[in-house]
Amino acid sequence: MNIKQLSVFLENKAGRLAHVTRILGDAKVNLLALSLADSSDFGILRLIVDDAERAQAVLKEHQVVCAVHDVMAVEVDDRPGGLADLLDLLDKGGVNVEYMYAFSEKKTGRAALIFRFDDTAKAAACLKQSGINIFRKVDLAPAGK
């Protein structure tokens, strides 16, 4: 049920994000979802791509620091309070969210969240028990598409 996320270290310098996305673009890697977290002197770009292993290999060839991790794509009701209900559920289950970002699923148009939990197995059990849909495969597009 886990999907692969590519994470990239970015120095806080003009053009670094463009550099990374250009490498991926030239390698014909398609970006499906992304989030950029920043601190005072660096950023971490988190990407869901069509082929995480190939993207990682291409970036490594260009000396870009990156890694592939398992994350979870969870369906959330597209209504006011949908996210709050989901987070309440996780909170009651004792699951901590390390980070998350939201996108809409391309085929169904339903809202989806990419999660990194402190305990993935516990989170999966908690969500399954409540009948929450966990995407097995990601076919995402940015909201509005």
Partner: protein, 63 residues
């Protein structure tokens, strides 16, 4: 002080990377007794010295 991040030291979580910075800072303090501001940078971004160290600069006018 600029420190290049390797793939082995990299984490996708900001708090882990911030902890890495603090850890480096503490190690330098223990070893040298100096407080340094650590900036994490990409590999290869720190300029490498080429050849011998340049300790004498010749300011004489060329003939």
């Amino acid at each position: 002080m600029r420190v290049e991040v390797t793939a082995e030291a990299f984490s996708d979580e900001i708090r882990v990377m911030e902890a890495l910075k603090r850890n480096i800072q503490e190690k330098i303090k223990q070893l040298l007794g100096l407080s340094a501001k650590i900036t994490l940078v990409e590999p290869g971004s720190i300029e490498r010295s080429v050849g011998k160290a340049k300790r004498v600069i010749d300011l004489r006018k060329k003939m």
